[in-house]
Amino acid sequence: MSPTDVVSQEKTTPSRTRVVNDFSIQVATVNGSGSQTANLVLLRSILMMGIPVSGKNMFPSNIAGLPTWYTIRASKRGYIARKKEVDFLVAMNVETAKEDVMTLDAGAAVIYDEPLKLSSLRSDLTFYPVPFDTLVKEVCPDAKLRRLVRNMIYDGILAKLLGIDMAVMEQALQKQMGKKAKAVVLNQGALKAGWDYAEANFTKQDPFHIERMNETAGKILIEGNAAAAIGCMMAGVTVVAWYPITPSSSLCESLIGYMRKYRMDKETGKATFAIVQAEDEIASLGMVIGAGWAGARAMTATAGPGISLMSEFAGLAYYAETPAVIFDVQRVGPSTGLPTRTAQGDLLSTAFLSHGDTKHILLIPHSVEECYEIAMQAFDLSERFQTPIFVMMDLDLGMNNWMSNGFEYPTKPIDRGKVLTADILKKLGEWGRYKDVDGDGIAYRTIPGDGLPVFFTRGSGHNDKAQYSERPDDYVNNVDRLTRKFETARTFVPAPVVETAKDATIGIIGYGTSHWAITESRDQLLEDTKVSTSYLRVRAYPFNDDMVTFIDAHERIYIVEQNRDAQLAMLLKLELSPERCAKLRSVLHYNGLPMDARSVTDDILAQEGFEVAKRETSSASSSNYGGE
């Protein structure tokens, strides 16, 4: 590539105005090639430049050798949903390079590994070929380590081309590497080699720029799973039982890390917790139920397949009225297939998990901050309602890094619910484990070893004194009380967050990570087509009255969710009148990728009768790579 003067380049292509802090970079590599460090350094350095940023990892279910894409989005307006269009591609993977290049929009830029010879493929892109192997040899004499530092070179090149401060990038590298001094030196060398190569050989020809802003002061970068783990620790969790499953494993693994650091007893050096890797998800929930029954704050984390296995125990805990906190980090489908892709597909099955008449409380965080806060609330609610609480996260939230405000230290004491004491027993006179003395459907429980009256815990067949009973009236009394308890829960669970636009006839209902695409989509609808929308973000099941109020206030309701079957819409329809049901429409996204705003906008506009241009899908979404 011949060096060209930047100014004259801009003169020859006047249409290419500068694009500042509003584009996405996609790095296409092979998994197991150590690209994650380079990607996180890039992500963090943009954050440290003060620009809102998000990172999405699209990876195969595989340890090494299959394609993986990491997409970083810088957004001066603070949008952190996935952006469908890729503006700047770093093509490192021979397998996908051609397809990755062919699916770019005109005007995009490409850094590529020189031997891939990509520049002849298109004339409407800017290409920057880089001899990665030659460069890495110079900075890393040890051939065995080259694989690990090779990717850092593209960070150096991007820093130069985009205008990321090198000192900031080095700081980000330090942060990422921690105390591994030797690795830091090696990677600094690679960064510099990239920078120097770009400086000596490239003239900026693409329009993309990173410029300092001041929008990220105090922000943290964290994965939802780690955020939930911190919440569990702050909630005072004492027993954790889990079975490894993507995408939930890192929740328990980060929890182990935090607990070992912050929950060892100062005086004895012993653990104020027990964490057990169980033999399967059935045993995980069994342990959690046993622990909750015996007074511990206990939790497990899993994904859809684990939720299925927990079904029988979930029903027992519902009827035996035992607290339990279960995180479901949702992913696509059963068995092999797309276990490393995101979805909101477990809502319906989890709400009614188990056999017989069973309804569970679901909590749905949309952000890492809410993962932290809702984790704490989940424990309070599980003890208040003496029932399993499911925290419905998803892979996008759990495993991707999100920019967030720092988490607030909890100020409220924890709620351990209705636990019988000698004083309360005296006041009540007579105690029955399942006797509703307050009319809220919740009875007082005793805990083994507390010296108070004992009871025998069973499934559905008991009277209000926990005595075995198969009497029809006892059964009906019991399930009706459980319904009363569920009704009480409506006012205790996190209320929906409602944003009402005064003149809006359209209302959008969404939940979880869809929020980020919805927020951006609402701006697009308003700015591009003058369509004003109100928005209700669901945070829990059962729903409260705000839902009906919101539906009544709008003519048409779009329910946006990440599954094929419109699962939230179905849950809603179970409770709504036919007139209200008639207002509901769905916007569904279920290709395994995080939801993007443009898809939501186009779908709503199409349903509203607007002409919508057919758009190309980005390389990642049209690719069909997977693994076992």
Binding site: K219, I220, L221, I230, M233, M234, G236, V237, T238, V239, A241, Y258, Y262, R263, D265, T268, K270, A271, T272, F273, A274, V276, A278, E279, D280, I282, A283, S284, G286, M287, V288, I289, G290, A291, G292, W293, A294, G295, A296, R297, A298, E312, L316, A320, G406, F407, Y409, P410, I414, I447, P448, G449, G451, V454, F455, F456, T457, R458, G459, Y468
Partner: protein, 342 residues
Amino acid sequence: MATPIKVNRIGLEPQVYKGGKTTLCAGCGHNAISERIIDAFYEMGVDPRQVIKLSGIGCSSKSPAYFLGGSHGFNAVHGRMPSVGTGAMLANQKLIAIGVSGDGDTGAIGIGQFVHLMRRNLPIIYIIEDNGCYGLTKGQFSPTADLGSKLKSGVVNDLQPIDTCALAIQLGATFVARSFSGDKRQLLALLKAALSHRGTVMLDVISPCVTFNDHEGSTKSYAYVKEHDEPLEEVSFVPFFEDITVDYDPGTTQEVKMHDGSRLLLKKLEESYDPTDKMAAMRVLHEATRRGEFATGIIYIEPDRDDFLRQLNIVDEPLGSLPLERTRPPKAALDEIMESLR
């Protein structure tokens, strides 16, 4: 003058250790086991309020309702009692856990949880009330049915039985015994010893099903088991709180010191049998099976191994009742974490 009320060493009457009226069949072996459990807990002076009774599903799993009425109980789902028991013990390690399972609940649907319970050496007394058939669903074979054993309908079992004792030993259980519901003396001594053990006690008790498996041709009938019961030793138990000197011949009697200071005296009936030798234990089980006999008594014992809770290095107090100031790290901890993420 009224006769003085009989009490145990903690001042509780026998009545306190009883449970609800049994709903099992008259003559069911399980009822005899419940009675021995009541006797053992009474005689050992265990506080029922510190005991948790656990079970899965089946006739055997109904029995915790028929003993220790003053204890908390948990009737879990089929085959999954071990996990519930594990969780409860994690929450409060001061509890004394007794789990009652059956041969189907353990050997079939619950084999996975059984295997992992044995591996962990959790402090729990795990009793299999073993009758070789499913009673509650009317007499189908279970995985402990012996080769050649016949159902009432004439169907013969031609599948290898699971020997739960051999399995438990192989997996690391530290107290493995087999008994017969009809052998009051042996079963009581084993149960009392079990209460002195810290770790998993796996007690397989052959307990004939009088309704579905007590006929000619069954290898788990009263008549067959009585005929083929081969005690390895005469089991005597001297609890730590009884200062008794027992004279015995060290040549024929082996003394095992239990975790709490109690002593097990095993007068050998089987020549040179050493229940602390794992290989010998496996051999004795296999040989008995080959002869169509049941080797009963202490089959394997390892009194000193760390149990699961000790391995987890948990604080001494029950985790479930730790106050918030010990389970919620201070603000400085959260600040430190937040700083590391910036």
